[in-house]
């Protein structure tokens, strides 16, 4: 095991250790030095500890247990005296440690203005717990006064905290407005007002001349002659990287320890991370890039590739009740434009800085709700030209406000049925939650809700969310597409529940984010609507993929293939003659398919109506070889011819095909009927496969022979042909009503479970109702699309709208 020594237990090196141990706990034997007599804590949360709004225990990130569990040897409270890079050892006060890899995480120390008196007792920085404790103790004296030098982030957090502790506080700031590196003057003005409202005195352009006192800091004198009596002085004017040890060890330093994008110093096997590094001339003081560095260094140490890159930063001030956000660069400059929003009554100021159609800076005071959104636009360099007018009002003006996803469920009465399979209503589920069933598994176990077909899973989760609040994290279901946040299951459910009967109704009521959907959702919604409301909804050809719209398969060269139906795989000399003539007339290539039919390939789009007309004349109809619908019913010759045949498999195949053709389904559906268990029609890898036996028919479902290969599973054994057709039809209708668009039956059955399917279909009334609903749908959709489109008016649509090449020739 390699020996890793880390000097400094700060936030960057703490994150480094977490990442290393997470990735490979056995990679290194780790020794951690820290001059402070404790491990890592969240240093940036010291301000609320100083104010009393957090306790120190709350901000400890790695306690003794953590170091022990992860076998980190801690040498806390021990200073590192030197590093010998030649011998590869670190020399601590209590002895040497050898290293294979060494990491400097020495951080930074406060910059102390070298004015007279700066070294008096009572002058403290605000860097660590010792400083915090010193200030807390000073505040315990009644009437104590504090002078905070520095009106930056840290100084102001210290000032507000000391005020809460009960001190009289004066802030001295050298610039003309507070936090001048993060705020513009307008925001600085509002911040000053806010602090003054808390009883804090703010002196701008205040230059500290000296700190005086008898053995301790008692008064700060300014260059303009102002005298400020005090009990404590807090210097928070900036930080300087702590690099003395590195310099003394011969590590290359500029203003800090120089590292490359892999966090390597110029000395072999020596690395640095955090506030003590200098990368491409930059120093670091905010936590976000430090964490990035830690991530990069962990990878580097593990021999993986990763590169550190500078990124934009955002700032917030941790003073309760002060809402301030700043990100990016907001200096004025040529080519830069401002968008400013002010609401004086509410103390709101927002300013965006735009350069070349990109947001480069944002300052917000009083209203920071959209801060992270603006920060994202800055980081990503998003082109904002199209939303420029409304940009300042934030994201909800851009994409339309999202609908409240939970209001519908919240409004349901307790007796509303949630799980239809098991008859569980909302009140039952809420009662189970109140009794302590706080996740989906527990609800299933206690109420049986969503334990059967699973269609109501999303709804049960929403009831959990409504009832439990933030303690229940809604699983992020995969939305249909970018137009909506809803998954397929919810869309299907809501189309039924809210009786949505048009695409416009779906888009509006379900809060679609686009004008009229996209190529992903439109075909799915079109199918759901026509499957659920066959009599009310009109199929929309413009929401179909090209093949289903043109009723032919588009080929890679833009021509189409044409395939007439051959019922049960049976044909006749007359049909074959007509097919041969059509092939010749339209220059088609002829192919015999695996589904027992003949395919004519290479037909031009404008010829489609004509070839369809010709085939129609010979008594043939579309084979729907292009649809998410019934394709073929493959058969063997059965008892008519075969010496093994037990039943008329061909006859049953033809009857099934005549019953089912023309129906739309979530994905394509292929059937086969074999006359005996020898299974010549390969029925056991179809969506529905029927095997004839002496005693009747074995109906099996959910096979696959495509990307996945799967044998069918037995649905039922029946005695008569009529029953076989009824069960098959009911199964397909159940699939039509419940499956997600583009799920083949085997995928759908895997989701809902064959047991559930069996249970539903075994109910005579339910099975017959399914067949009835299928028949209603067929009354609309069992029509030959070829015949309809061979009509002159419809056929015209297959021609170009105009031919301007002719016009030009005239």
């Amino acid at each position: 095991m390699q020996k890793l020594v880390v000097i400094g237990a700060g936030m960057a090196s703490g994150r480094l250790l977490e990442q290393l141990i997470d990735a490979d706990p056995g990679a290194f034997e780790i020794t951690l030095f820290n001059a402070e007599p404790r491990g890592n804590y969240n240093r940036i949360m010291l301000s609320p500890v100083l104010s009393g709004e957090k306790s120190f225990e709350e901000i400890v990130t790695h306690d003794d247990d953590w170091y022990a569990t992860n076998k980190v040897t801690c040498r806390f409270g021990e200073k590192v005296l030197s590093v010998d890079t030649a011998r590869k050892v670190v020399v601590g006060e209590k002895g040497e440690v050898a290293y294979d890899k060494l990491v400097f995480g020495t951080g930074s120390s406060a910059f102390i203005i070298p004015c007279p008196g700066h070294d008096l007792p009572g002058v403290v920085a605000f860097r660590d717990l010792e400083d915090t404790t010193a200030m807390t103790e000073a505040a315990a004296k009644p009437g104590a006064r504090a002078v905070v030098i520095g009106g930056g982030l840290l100084g102001l957090e210290a000032a507000a905290a000391l005020r809460l502790r009960g001190m009289e506080v004066t802030v001295l700031h050298i610039a003309s407005h507070l936090m001048e590196r993060q705020l513009d003057p307008a925001a600085g003005y509002l911040l000053k007002k806010d602090l003054e409202r808390r009883g804090i005195t703010v002196l701008l352009e205040a230059s500290t001349k000296e700190i005086v006192g008898n053995g301790k800091a008692e008064q700060v004198n300014l260059a303009d002659g102002t005298e400020l009596p005090c009990d404590i002085v807090c210097m928070a004017v900036g930080i300087r990287p702590a690099v003395k040890l590195a310099q003394n060890s011969g590590i290359a330093c500029g203003r800090a320890i120089k590292v490359d994008a892999q966090m390597r110093t110029e000395t072999p096997d020596v690395y640095a991370v955090g506030e003590c590094v200098e990368f491409e001339g930059n120093l670091f003081g905010l936590v976000a890039p430090l964490y990035d560095q830690a991530k990069v260094l962990a990878k580097t140490l593990l021999g993986q590739e990763e590169t550190f890159a500078m990124r934009e930063l955002s700032t917030k001030l941790k003073v309760t009740g002060c809402d301030l956000f700043s990100a990016g660069d907001f200096a004025d400059g040529p080519g830069r434009e401002d968008i400013v929003y002010r609401d004086p009554a509410r103390g709101i100021y927002k300013r965006l800085v735009i350069e070349e159609d990109k947001l480069v800076g944002a300052v917000m005071y009083g209203d920071t709700a959209d801060g992270n959104w603006f920060f994202g636009l800055i980081k990503d360099g998003t082109d904002i030209s199209e939303m420029r007018e409304t940009l300042i009002f934030g994201p909800s003006y851009q994409g339309g406000a999202s609908v409240d996803p939970l209001s519908a469920v919240a409004a349901l009465p307790p007796e509303a049925e949630i799980c239809g399979c098991n008859g569980v209503c909302k009140g039952d589920i809420v009662a189970a939650i109140e009794a302590g069933a706080t996740d989906l598994g527990a609800i299933k176990a206690t109420t049986k809700a969503s334990a059967s077909c699973g269609t109501c899973t999303g709804l049960v989760e929403q009831v959990l969310s409504v009832t439990l609040g933030d303690e229940f994290v809604l699983p992020t279901a995969q939305p249909v597409c970018g137009c909506t946040d809803l998954p397929h299951e919810d869309v299907r459910r809501l189309i039924k529940a809210q009786e949505l009967k048009s695409q416009e109704a779906v888009w509006q009521e379900l809060g679609w984010k686009s004008r009229n959907g996209c190529h992903v959702c439109r075909p799915a919604i079109n199918f759901y609507l026509l499957a659920d409301w066959p009599l009310d909804y009109t199929d929309d050809p413009q929401s179909r993929f090209v093949n289903e719209r043109n009723h032919a398969n588009i080929q890679k060269d833009g021509t189409y293939s044409v395939m007439p139906r051959m019922w049960g795989g049976m044909t006749s000399p007359q049909e074959l003659i007509a097919i041969a003539q059509a092939a010749e007339k339209y220059g088609a290539t002829v192919k015999v398919t695996g589904g027992q039919r003949i395919d004519l390939l290479g037909v031009k789009k404008e010829d489609l109506p004509a070839i369809w007309y010709d085939l129609n004349e010979a008594g043939m109809v579309s084979g729907h070889a292009y649809t998410k619908g019934l394709r073929t019913v493959k058969t063997c010759v059965g008892s008519d011819w075969c010496r093994f045949g037990t039943q008329d498999s061909t006859g049953l195949g033809i009857k099934l095909e005549k019953k089912l053709w023309g129906s739309w389904t979530p994905h394509k559906v292929k059937l086969a009927v074999s006359g005996c268990p020898r299974n010549c029609a390969e029925a056991t890898c179809k969506d529905v496969g029927i095997i004839c036996v002496d005693s009747g028919y074995q109906v099996s479902v959910a096979g696959a022979a495509g990307m996945d290969v799967k044998e069918t599973e037995r649905l039922v054994d029946v005695r008569t042909e009529e029953e076989a057709i009824e069960w098959t039809t009911a199964f397909i209708q159940l699939y039509r009503e419940h499956a997600k668009y583009l799920d083949r039956p085997y995928k759908w059955v895997a989701k809902v479970g064959l047991d559930w399917v069996k249970e539903v279909l075994a109910d005579d009334a339910e099975r017959q109702a399914l067949v009835e609903r299928f028949d209603i749908s067929q009354s609309v959709y069992q029509k030959d699309p070829w015949a309809e489109r061979a009509e002159p008016e419809a056929a015209r649509r297959f021609q170009p709208l105009a031919d301007l090449t002719l016009k030009a020739a005239e």
């Binding site: 709004e53 957090k54 315990a140 009644p142 005020r163 809460l164 502790r165 009883g199 999202s402 933030d470």
Partner: protein
């Protein structure tokens, strides 16, 4: 921490109830009476007109009201309270601008073993002065508090006043300049929740709940921010601070992860956002983080719910 251990502890507040206006009277919406069923019976039959009884007084005077010692007072349930051993009460009106949404009433029993504090502070001459408070056995702390005032920005009341937001203080016993801190430490007070109580008139009231380890006002406190300037246009709230005896800190370092967020209608806090009313949920451990009771109180500002504070016992 062990749940069984929790349950054995006596709580500082014994009864919490919510009264809502119905026409010109206040009627009981919900209440948590623990085992004081006789008092509950007596209460269910009651309603209060404006100015009547304690809830009616908070409504009429448009201010939080502390009442100690019911005998001979305007309190309407004196006999039932006496039988239940209840001796003091605080009524907190919830106003949305000039409109009264509800009155939250808490009742406590006099008990030499119960320590804690429920205080009402009001502004006078640029300082927050103690209006009144109920302290249980913390007599010395009560005396100290009566002789303390807070300038803007100082201490829990002064902080709430100047920031106009609820605040949660830890370790009340340590490190504040007030004599109060020392005394608070001696009284065993640990966690303090301070919140602004907006009223129709241009007056400042701050309520503080100071909880002691042995007889806690609550074992879990949460502060939710629901101002549009914080959460955007969606009706939602984010948890800005919180502490729980079982789960520890309930805040996040937002460099690491965003704060917990709930929508309108999502859980108890979502329900407060939806109804605009205070909420008591009791006897449903699945809904109250395993605790027996939750009390959630909305704080309005400029016609909207600005914050929600919640405490769990």
């Amino acid at each position: 921490m062990d749940t069984v251990l929790d349950a054995a502890v006596k709580t500082f507040i014994q009864v919490t109830e919510i009264w809502v206006p119905e026409g010109d009277r206040l009627v009981l919406a919900t209440g948590n009476y623990g085992e004081l069923s006789a008092f509950e019976e007596a209460t269910r039959a009651m309603s209060f007109g404006k100015g009547e009884g304690l809830p009616g007084k908070a409504w009429a005077e448009e201010r939080p009201v502390v009442l100690k010692g019911f005998d001979g007072s305007y309190f309407k349930r004196i006999e039932a309270a006496a039988e239940a051993g209840l001796t003091s009460a605080v009524a907190i009106p919830v106003f949305n601008d000039a409109k009264l949404k509800a009155v939250l009433v808490v009742l406590c029993g006099d008990d030499e073993n119960r320590t804690g504090a429920i205080e009402v502070w009001h502004e006078a001459d640029g300082f927050l002065m103690l209006d009144d408070g109920y302290y249980g056995a913390a007599r010395h702390f009560e005396w100290v508090s009566q002789h303390t005032h807070f300038p803007r920005g100082q201490g829990l009341p002064g902080g709430v006043w100047s920031a106009n937001t609820p605040m949660l203080f830890r370790d009340l016993g340590s490190g504040y300049r007030f004599i109060r801190a020392d005394s608070a430490g001696k009284a065993g007070l640990t966690t303090g929740l301070g919140l602004p109580i907006p009223v129709p008139q241009d007056k400042t009231f701050v309520l503080t709940l100071l909880s002691a380890r042995g007889t806690p006002i609550a074992r879990r406190f949460e502060i939710w921010d629901s101002r549009p300037v914080k959460v955007g246009r969606e009706v939602a709230a984010v948890r800005t601070d919180g502490i729980c005896e079982r789960e520890g800190p309930l805040w996040t370092d937002d460099n690491e992860e965003p704060p917990r967020r709930v929508h309108i209608n999502q859980g108890n806090i979502g329900k407060v956002l939806a109804t605009g009313l205070p909420l008591i949920v009791t006897g449903k451990p699945g809904l109250t983080e395993g605790y027996d009771t939750l009390v959630a109180l909305p704080i309005y500002d400029a016609g909207e719910i600005a914050h929600i504070v919640a405490w769990y016992v």
